[in-house]
Symmetry: C2
Subunit: 190 residues, 2 copies
């Protein structure tokens, strides 16, 4: 998505460890008009897939998920919750996740009430680096017997291996922008 690449170049900040900060429109301040264009692009790609629910993860995935859901005719969104404790109740699906950005582990949980074998899911997140969050969400979907019809993220860091691994596993993964390289603060897109 050309517009997103331009937005990243204009508004993104590169922090230590090649972390790309897009707090001005995606992760802290939400540019609702821009998110709407991203949601439309996601809808255009997946509209024939029979998707009836979006699965995302708190907190930064929620805004894009909700806006995208509007394009799919107001389908429901379920956001996985992050728990620190391994002390997870019976009534949830859960999966352990390692976070690249924060260098710590956490567990995602989804209530069994809200995910089941009738679900045809679009799995959505803001960022994709090592792919741990998306793999956690796929794991949770599989436990529920739900079908993962596709995955989408705003920004993929293509120089980490997450996205390519997920594609190699046969999933239809749409990344609206893929950063292939960051050298001396200069971003190159795929």
């Amino acid at each position: 998505m050309k517009l997103l690449e331009e937005k990243i170049l204009k508004s993104g900040e590169i922090k230590e460890g090649n972390i790309v900060k897009v707090d001005s429109f995606l992760n802290h301040r939400l540019d609702v008009e821009f998110l709407d264009m991203m949601g439309k692009e996601i809808y255009e790609h997946f509209k024939e897939k029979g998707i009836n629910k979006i699965l995302t993860i708190e907190a930064s995935g929620i805004a894009l998920a909700v806006i995208t859901a509007k394009y799919f005719g107001n389908i429901p969104v379920v956001f996985a919750k992050k728990a620190k404790s391994a002390n997870i109740a019976d009534e949830v699906y859960s999966s352990k996740i390692e976070s690249f950005t924060y260098k710590k582990n956490y567990t995602v949980t989804v209530s069994k009430q809200f995910l089941d074998s009738r679900d045809h899911l679009l799995v959505l997140d803001d960022f994709l680096a090592e792919g741990n969050a998306l793999r956690g969400l796929i794991d949770v979907a599989e436990q529920a017997g739900a079908e993962v019809c596709g995955l989408t993220v705003g920004i993929e860091k293509g120089f980490q291996k997450g996205g390519d691994q997920i594609r190699a596993n046969g999933y239809d993964l749409l990344s609206l922008a893929i950063i292939d390289k960051i050298t001396d603060g200069v971003i190159t897109f795929r």
Copy 2:
């Protein structure tokens, strides 16, 4: 909002300590179509107030904030982040909050980049009980010199004192449903 009262009666669960759980449409699974109706109601109430930004708090406020922002012509949303540490950087506004639901304290932070004296804010959250989260957001807005034009929540627990205190302070607070009493699992609305 009559429809929300009906939805709470139909889908809400009452947990120990009079906690009303609305995970099926507001806090875990998001009923995007219903949130849209809530957003429209909020817009109708505040549309003449010159609001140019919505300030909310992660994670459960984000969905309703984004949908409401669409009615206001796609104005930006800023969501305050929750931090456990008191070790807060210079570049953020911060305020300490006591959580009624979780019985623990945390600090909300908003980057100084994203809030300033040109902002005419609608402060939004999903729930209001003691009012601590809203007061924290008001505090942050005041530090930034922003104007709080109004406040809104989905569900107010009117038997706790938060909402009435905020109204007594002169703020225009719209709660889409106010629970006045929960007796033996039966909810009475104001």
